[in-house]
């Protein structure tokens, strides 16, 4: 039996506009670039929606209608959902249509796609709750499987997630944690009892997400038939094939002219040609298969880069400094209770901001390996810290005001 488990990550950060020293104290709207460039959130959202979200949802809806066996799962970040509602509500409607089929699972994550777990567990828990509430409100479902930002995982995360009542958690099928074991089975965390771990089959996932259009790849071009054949080979030595990827794979990372949509359109039928294959959502997989072993993951693992660690967001002084300073504000900001200030503060926690500050690719000279809407990691940091200075100023002013109010 090989059950295919699809999970697509859907996320868009609120990118900071160009914000200079002169703006501090004068402009407290940080996310409203309207330049029609890579800092313009609305422009990007509409572009990606047109190229990816809408057409891919259409293909998937058609597949769900045609194949009663077909199932998928999504994780939709809260900041994605917000931008969809604000910039292109039809995108939300199209996700609703998918979810209404009853064969699309929505996973839980932090609303702000943040790294909060690394700095504040209370804030992390609040953001998970916010996300759950939002998913319930929009789609009428409650997440039962959790995926942390960028699949960041360790034993502690699993322990807390189990305590919150989730049945499964997703993580990277990194070689260093699996060792000789296969990602095609379910596992149990070291301190867990019932929580199931689903590990990304990075080989097969990346064949689609990264290599699909690569002409240097000796398997190019990749047909649905060939790929289904690879998946079917798992039969007999695995139970589930976890294909986890960014949703933007379809139409954005791999453009339509690469044939990615045709591939997707034909894939379920090709997979179903093998009588032992079927589809499961993560929670269904956790219900069907037993854990075949215990995985001890004391150190953080993520799905980023070859390192599969936290270095994309936490490796230089700028990143540490920005993260420390943003979380240092937690107590004051939360206790003041100003809704706008809290929301801005949380939007600044989105992992992408810290990713843009990463300098490790610069060191390899391979600058084009990653995407950055800012001209350099230094520009990203300068912008972020200018905004943070303004946020601190607002906090100070609000605090002073509230002291005055209290005294009156």
């Amino acid at each position: 039996m090989a059950s295919v488990c699809f999970y697509f990550q859907v996320h868009q950060p609120y990118r900071l506009k160009k914000y200079r020293i002169f703006d501090i104290g004068r402009d407290n709207v940080y996310f409203n670039d309207a330049s029609g460039t890579n800092l313009d959130n609305k422009w990007i959202f509409q572009k990606v929606a047109t190229k990816c979200y809408l057409p891919t949802n259409e293909v998937l809806l058609d597949l769900l209608n045609r194949h009663p066996e077909f199932k998928i799962s999504f994780s939709l970040s809260g900041v994605f959902l917000e931008q969809a509602a604000e910039y292109m509500p039809q995108v939300l409607d199209s996700f609703k249509r998918l979810i209404d089929t009853g064969r699309v699972e929505i996973l839980g994550e932090t609303y702000y796609h943040s790294l909060a777990f690394l700095h504040s567990r209370t804030e992390w828990l609040r953001q998970i709750m916010l996300h759950t509430r939002q998913v319930k409100k929009l789609f009428g479902v409650e997440p039962t499987t959790f995926r942390n930002t960028e699949l960041i995982y360790n034993n502690d995360i699993a322990h807390i997630i189990e305590g919150l009542g989730y049945q499964a958690i997703l993580l990277e099928g990194a070689d260093h944690i699996l060792d000789w074991r296969s990602p095609n089975f379910l596992y149990r965390p070291r301190r867990g009892s019932k929580l199931k771990m689903l590990l990304k089959n990075y080989k097969l996932s990346d064949d689609v997400a990264f290599r699909f259009s690569s002409r240097d790849w000796n398997e190019w071009p990749l047909s649905a038939e060939k790929f289904a054949h690879w998946v079917s080979q798992v039969n007999g030595n695995g139970e589930v094939v976890n294909l986890f990827m960014d949703y933007e794979t379809f139409g954005e990372h791999q453009w339509a002219d690469t044939g990615i949509f045709d591939f997707l359109r034909h894939l379920p039928a090709e997979l179903l040609k093998h009588p032992d294959n079927d589809f499961l959502t993560p929670t269904e997989a956790a219900g069907r298969f037993p854990a075949r072993g215990v995985l001890d993951v004391p150190d953080y693992v993520s799905w980023a880069d070859v390192e599969r660690d936290l270095s994309a967001w936490r490796s230089n002084d700028m990143q540490y400094d920005a993260l420390n300073k943003i979380y240092a504000l937690e107590k004051d900001i939360i206790s003041l209770g100003d809704k706008k200030l809290i929301d801005d503060w949380r939007r600044l926690q989105t992992s992408d901001h810290f990713y843009y500050m990463c300098t490790k690719w610069f060191n390899d000279g391979d600058v084009h390996k990653y995407f950055n809407p800012y001209e350099s990691p230094y520009d990203a940091f300068i912008t972020f810290m200018n905004v943070l200075n303004d946020l601190q100023l607002r906090l100070k002013q609000l605090k002073n005001n509230s002291v005055v109010t209290n005294e009156q």
Binding site: R20, D317, T359, I382, N386
Partner: protein
């Protein structure tokens, strides 16, 4: 088999006033390390840095120096040459720089006859006529190496027609052109009408071995907690000192604990002193005059930030010198060095707001300064002349192969 090179330069340390001599020195040493057989020709007999630095030049038998007696004054305009000429002993060829350049060209013939070599390599317009003469005599291919063009030196205004004509002739007659940056390559294409495929970009390097840490200067100001931002370079239109002062004035509106140092000399020096007074920041801007060697280095080390706001900078070695001693840099995007240096903050030279924004951020955020310094230092050390010379050798072979066919 590495080709043998006949190389024409114009200046050489310690008698250099600009980047060309420093570059030629770096190139010579790296050529020697890579055992490229070369004869380096200078227009006039002078003590060369190699004699003073036996450690550096020891065992570098491959490099032979040939000198021709002409006046030496690099990075010059014809007018400033005439002024300079009055101050020192008369050269054998005549009073104008053009006379010198032409005379150097004539002398080059006998040198080309005397030696055997496979390819000729000439640096900048001052030695182009020499390179061309050697090519005519020997029939060997000529590569000209463009470190700066008349458009950089003049800032685009008042291009000297005679210099332009020499540059253009050299570029047209040469078998290949090395440009020290894409910035320069684009100028060659745009202003000299040279086809793109005739130009190879090989960026300059830095000789970090020669730089040793020395005690900081200005430590009294630093000790009282003042931050220092440094400009170091010729005070000319090309280097953008006026943009530096404009940004300084804006920074001082936002922070009180900063002082600025302008180190260098040039035809805009007095105007810049006046400009600082006009801006009301004369008490915050120190004009340190022309510094070289250890003095310059002490200044880099004392600075919290080094700024190179050049209007048109073919390469720009100073930011690398600054990074080697561990001071972060802000460079204009209109520079060749910004093409190879990732770990720097960058701005358009004319964007005073952006320069101010970045200067203030750097002073405010120690994490920014630290990350820039650590990464920038490492990157500067990796930009070696050996890397550049490997690029030249590859180009020599390309040109020789092409001509063989």
């Amino acid at each position: 088999m590495k080709p043998r090179i006949l190389m024409f330069g114009w200046e050489f340390p310690p008698q250099n006033s600009g980047g060309l001599g420093t570059a030629c020195f770096g190139i010579c040493k790296a050529m020697a390390r890579q055992q490229v057989e070369m004869i380096f020709v200078l227009p006039r007999r002078q003590p060369v840095a190699g004699n003073n630095l036996p450690l550096v030049f020891a065992g570098l038998e491959e490099i032979r120096f040939e000198t021709v007696d002409t006046l030496l004054y690099p990075y010059v305009t014809d007018q400033s040459y005439a002024e300079h000429y009055q101050d020192i002993e008369p050269g054998p060829y005549g009073p104008t720089l053009f006379d010198e350049v032409i005379a150097y060209g004539k002398r080059a013939r006998s040198i080309a006859r005397k030696h055997s070599f496979d390819i000729i390599h000439a640096h900048d317009w001052l030695s182009f006529p020499a390179g061309l003469a050697a090519k005519r005599i020997s029939g060997k291919p000529l590569i000209i190496h463009v470190h700066a063009t008349e458009f950089d030196r003049s800032g685009g205004a008042g291009v000297n027609e005679k210099v332009y004509a020499i540059e253009r002739e050299g570029m047209e007659q040469a078998d290949g052109i090395i440009a020290i940056s894409h910035w320069t390559k684009n100028i060659i294409i745009k202003h000299y009408g040279i086809p793109e495929e005739k130009i190879r970009v090989v960026h300059n390097g830095i000789d970090s071995d020669d730089i040793v840490l020395i005690p900081e200067s200005l430590h009294q100001l630093k000790r009282v907690g003042k931050k220092m931002i440094l400009f170091l370079g010729r005070i000319t239109l090309q280097k953008g000192p006026d943009y530096f002062l404009a940004a300084a004035a804006r920074v001082l509106e936002l922070r009180d604990d900063v002082f600025f140092v302008v180190a260098g000399s040039g035809d805009m020096e007095r105007a810049m002193i006046r400009r600082a007074a006009e801006l009301g920041i004369a008490d915050r801007v120190l004009f340190a005059g022309f510094l070289r060697g250890a003095e310059a280095q002490a200044m880099y080390q004392a600075a919290d930030l080094f700024v190179m706001p050049s209007v048109s900078e073919p390469f720009g070695l100073t930011p690398l010198e600054s990074l080697v001693v561990g001071t972060p840099v802000l460079v204009s995007k209109q520079s060749g060095v910004s093409e190879v240096l990732h770990h720097a903050i960058k701005a358009d030279f004319w964007d005073i707001d952006e320069m101010t924004n970045k200067m203030v951020a750097l002073l405010r955020e120690p994490a920014l300064s630290k990350t820039l310094t650590e990464n920038g230092h490492r990157e500067a050390l990796s930009l070696t002349w050996d890397r550049s010379v490997a690029g030249y050798v590859d180009y020599y072979k390309t040109i020789l192969n092409k001509l063989r066919k």
